[in-house]
Symmetry: C2
Subunit: 421 residues, 2 copies
Amino acid sequence: MSKKKLNRGVAVVGAGMSKFGAFSDKSSRDLFVEAFQSMRKSVDKEFNPADIETIYIGNFSSDLFEAQSHTAPIMADVAGLAPRPAVRIEDACASSGVALRQGILAIASGLYDIALVGGIEKMTNLPTAEVTDTLAAAADTLFEVPAGFTFPGFYAAIASAYMHKYGMQPEHLMNVAIKNHENGALNPNAQFGVTIPDWMQGRIASAKKKGKPVPTWSDHWDYLHDARANPMIAWPLRLFDCSPITDGAVALLLVSEEIANQFTDHPIHIIGSGQASDVALHDRDDLTSIAAARLASQEAYAMAGVTADDIRVAEVHDCFTIAEIVATEDLGFFAPGDGYKAAEDQVTARDGAKPINTSGGLKSKGHPVGASGAGQAVEIFKQMRGLADERQVAGDIPLGLSHNVGGTGGTCVVHVYERRN
Amino acid sequence: MSKKKLNRGVAVVGAGMSKFGAFSDKSSRDLFVEAFQSMRKSVDKEFNPADIETIYIGNFSSDLFEAQSHTAPIMADVAGLAPRPAVRIEDACASSGVALRQGILAIASGLYDIALVGGIEKMTNLPTAEVTDTLAAAADTLFEVPAGFTFPGFYAAIASAYMHKYGMQPEHLMNVAIKNHENGALNPNAQFGVTIPDWMQGRIASAKKKGKPVPTWSDHWDYLHDARANPMIAWPLRLFDCSPITDGAVALLLVSEEIANQFTDHPIHIIGSGQASDVALHDRDDLTSIAAARLASQEAYAMAGVTADDIRVAEVHDCFTIAEIVATEDLGFFAPGDGYKAAEDQVTARDGAKPINTSGGLKSKGHPVGASGAGQAVEIFKQMRGLADERQVAGDIPLGLSHNVGGTGGTCVVHVYERRN
């Protein structure tokens, strides 16, 4: 673990995203332009895109999803930024969290003052089964995939190991899903950015007829454990334990600390950054914790000079409900085995002591894999700037965190954000 | 173009590569381990791989070639380097040249002192036609590929535009191929690392029978213009104008300048680094020059405080013969339209005034696309350290250069190397 310091500080001064969802009429180019324009609008003061000096694009596999590689200069082109250097970063679902880190290093190196960090994934072109196969390329395809594993299976293995060790029941997982859907319902950019999904309509009609209050997500506890409404995918994970397949793009504007006030009076400083890798899942001693997440967060906390307790809001990588529970333990928010209790006790709710995934998380906001890490930074930016509208966490938010995982933890990258004024 | 300086200097203190070729029994993991061990042996003094702090892996599309993404942590694992952070860089055929640049920025940022830069590509699993289709993903697959272009066609278009503008004849191109095969014949790691290819055997037997000297590559000028021996691929490019399909891996050890003498008494300092992007080929005004190469080299020269004339040896991106000719002009070695004359006049030969591609280049050493840029750095390291054996350029080599292109110039990255003692 590096205990060294960056040669200079970096701040986020703009953050935007496309709508996340399934868009048959949009390519990743369209989505990136949408995100780029959203980012431009988010910059408070004067900003000329021509001043951007370098570009990092997180993307998992435009190769397999769109038969298009060499993705970064294409995104530079469509955003009108050629001939600026453009680099694609691939670390599976951590691609744009790692791209954010590379943008930070590029500025800290002294070579650049202004960097664009993007994330893109256009997944819904392929049938669902092919998407699952494509995502499996992020696992170890020599040992794990031939054994029959795809990602729901991997995280099901993590969930069952966790249940065995800590006594969690499958029903506990749905607390995470319900919370994140309730948050996502308040996020206009979320894939499931609706208060009431279509499949609840029957219940709503029935409630209205009987003069009862209209039910919300959490009123559907029983329904979410009905095998027809919420079928089993890979025991103990049901459909609503899984994040969706999503098209989406994100754009962040990073600048060196010295010039941040040219762009806004309220820069969000990135004061901690950590990244670690791990061996493939089949090669680990313990499935109930992701070592790379522990290491990355320790590195980020050390750089920032803060502890887990200091973090006010966090976006964590909830590709499956169990992943959020494990993440909140790996990050040190809760002791090992206590994560599922914290979710049950509403500690991680928007008005809880440690709000997690106020954006809706990957679960409800959507999971365009290569864009998800940068998307977490958008939510932290909005929450810390007080721009999160209906889902705004109350009070000052001096410190935030994002936690982005690639695969089953082959990569993890964690960032700590600070608002100073 | 950034005129800023890096916050601190970086040097290459180790450089190794696998044999380049077609290896049906090796995966990219095997090849990377081979390169990593070769790099370890190249370090003069004590070196503990556990001291490596971060890893950058250039790779074009393990996704499409091996159905394996999330490649960087897998390489970290097989080299025994988990949990160090591992990042895959994709910029088409410039992937590992750009990975080298990211390694430099990471060290300059202050966060790391020791970085491993790798490049890998395992291409020969697929039939040739599928490889050609896969490589086409590095072009603009929305506009260019549906129009019928693959890479031989792109570079054929560049060649015919160049011929039209400067009066070059198709025969001139073969000067580049012959030179690079003669160089590659002296490189034991080259794919065509043989003095006499099999297809020349008949001529050799005939010469011996007649008591004549055994012919070399350059004696086969007429043969290389025979349509049966050297068939047309995309006019004016023949088979021997094209680089081969190759499996291979490379590993470089970068350290901060301050600690370089712990590893060797003869570090190779990287004093200039430049990168630029460009719009897709179909969108450019001029096909006879690659703007990103001009910009990247100008940036690298400015950072290094040197001019094109100061460079003693260079490895340039000769994916096709015409690419080397255009590169030597874009880099400022020769005036526009003079590159093909310089090749004809042997200026770019090993004993010429400006030796180009002494390794054999992509043309003869081989072109495992994601590894090629880092592979260029291996040759510059060897030449500047006097380790190039039979192909060693005579005299001191204080300054070297590498030039790595992605696609048709959507990306270009240039590095300038200095030996001080």
